[in-house]
């Protein structure tokens, strides 16, 4: 399992390498009950081997759990069936030929646990049990392969479709000036949610086709602003983001205590935040300065006792603009 390539004469491309590590990740992410077969063809120990053959043929399976009084007592497989056939004993009960085994896997475990068992023991299928040791399904290597393939496809499609849809938004809608507005309500003191709105904004920008650099600058600026609202805005506040192909305008508005001296608030190290905020890694008087560093323009409009409006603008270069059509128009000098 070390650095051994899959095959000596084959060079693994970056694309393939990504796929391989994604498959490995999925082995940890997917749980056994997400890929197992639930439709159990449980067989009673008294069933004749001949009947088992019929069941296998009809259901197109190569093995089944053997259950007596609701308890899993073994597994019968094609191999057992062949043994019975070779001994011309297909009238014998399943109990005589089945593999009496107690190897099971828990439904809630990650796939990797089933893979380990498949690798160590030479079994073709594993009964799956729940926390009470009750049989809930069966898993084969084939189930794992198709489960992983399905997840890979889904993974890829989901984000691709979202990006595709979002990226074409600005081209599909015709107007003299199109913009997309996002609004988020921010609650005072809701520290656990701190950064929630910002991560949605950053993701939206990436889906709309913003470069990672632009998305990072916006994300950092609006995250600091969001934390400011949570820390200082006594009645909470609102974040409003207006996205245009060539420009992003972000506003953080509140009717809180206001900033008495904006110049002083801009000074690195000046802070009115209490210690509880500092314990979260904020409130060291860096916020506004950090925001300013990330944006092209920043305006602070604040009245003590009335509230604060922070306005941030990021302008995109033509090659960074969102939506392909606008980009073309700008670089070709328009239609």
């Amino acid at each position: 399992m070390d650095d051994e390539p899959l095959r000596k004469d084959r060079i693994i491309t970056d694309g393939a390498a990504n796929l391989i590590s994604r498959v490995e990740e999925l082995a940890y992410e997917l749980t056994i009950d997400e890929v197992m077969t639930r439709d159990l063809k449980a067989i009673a120990p008294g069933t004749k081997m001949g009947e088992v053959m019929e069941t296998f043929r009809e259901a197109r399976i190569s093995g089944a759990p053997v259950v007596a009084n609701g308890e899993l007592i073994g597994v019968v497989s094609l191999e057992d069936l062949i043994r019975a056939l070779r001994e011309s004993n297909i009238e014998a009960p399943v109990g005589e030929y089945m593999t009496r085994m107690v190897l099971t896997v828990n439904a809630r475990n990650p796939l990797i646990e089933a893979l380990k068992v498949f690798e160590q023991k030479r079994v073709g299928r594993l009964p799956v049990v729940d926390d009470d040791n009750k049989l809930v399904g069966i898993i084969t290597k084939g189930d794992i392969t198709s489960g992983v393939m399905h997840a890979l496809e889904y993974d890829y499609q989901e984000e691709e479709v979202r990006r595709y849809r979002a990226r074409h938004l600005f081209e599909d809608i015709v107007s003299d000036r199109t913009s997309l507005t996002l609004r988020y309500k921010i609650q005072h003191g809701a520290f656990a949610q701190g950064g929630n709105a910002s991560s949605h904004i950053k993701r939206a920008l990436l889906r709309l086709g913003a470069s990672p650099q632009i998305a990072r600058r916006c994300g950092i600026a609006i995250y600091e602003a969001e934390m400011n609202l949570i820390i200082h805005a006594t009645h909470g506040g609102m974040i409003r983001v207006e996205i245009e192909p060539h420009r992003i305008l972000m506003e953080a508005i509140d009717d809180g205590p206001g900033i008495y001296d904006v110049d002083l608030a801009m000074k690195p190290g000046y802070s009115t935040a209490p210690d509880s905020i500092r314990e979260l890694g904020f409130g060291a008087g860096m916020g506004l300065k950090n925001i300013q560093r990330c944006v092209d323009d920043m305006y602070v409009d604040s009245t003590p006792g009335r509230g604060t409006r922070l306005e941030l603008r990021i302008n995109m270069q033509p090659q960074e603009s969102l939506g392909d059509a606008t980009h073309k128009n700008l670089t070709d000098g328009g239609a």
């Binding site: 701190g194 890694g281 560093r293």
Partner: protein, 120 residues
């Protein structure tokens, strides 16, 4: 340096499931103040921190941090681990202190991805 190699050098324990460890890391950034991370870290840095709150993961998401190392054996809560797993940011815990962790990795060749402080 591979992330797996980095983890070995600091006797780290991986706390998240699913996030890929078989990737190259370009460098690191050490801070307990999240505003400093936002201001002075470069994209793709591994973040070394003694702070163990939800805001560390949120900050990492905004600043494109590659992985988070909690020093001095700090253990994040389940909701922190869940958020990081969902965002595919590996969380690692090391029993060593900040100076020891940074020192080991720097002498093993890991670069600093911190911007120099500037007044502007």
């Amino acid at each position: 340096m591979k992330l797996l190699e980095l983890i070995k050098l600091i006797d780290g324990a991986v706390l998240t499931k699913g996030a890929s460890l078989d990737r190259d890391v370009r460098g690191g950034c050490g801070a307990d103040l999240m505003s400093d991370v936002l201001a002075y870290s470069q994209p793709d840095a591994v973040l070394f921190t003694g702070l163990c709150t939800m805001q560390v993961v949120r900050t990492a998401m905004m600043a494109d941090v590659a992985a988070i190392v909690f020093v001095r054996d700090k253990q994040p809560t389940d909701d922190i681990i869940q958020l990081a797993s969902r965002e595919k940011i590996p969380l690692i815990s090391s029993p060593h202190g900040m100076f020891e962790v940074c020192g080991r990795l720097h002498s093993a060749g890991l670069q600093s991805l911190e911007h120099a402080y500037d007044e502007g």
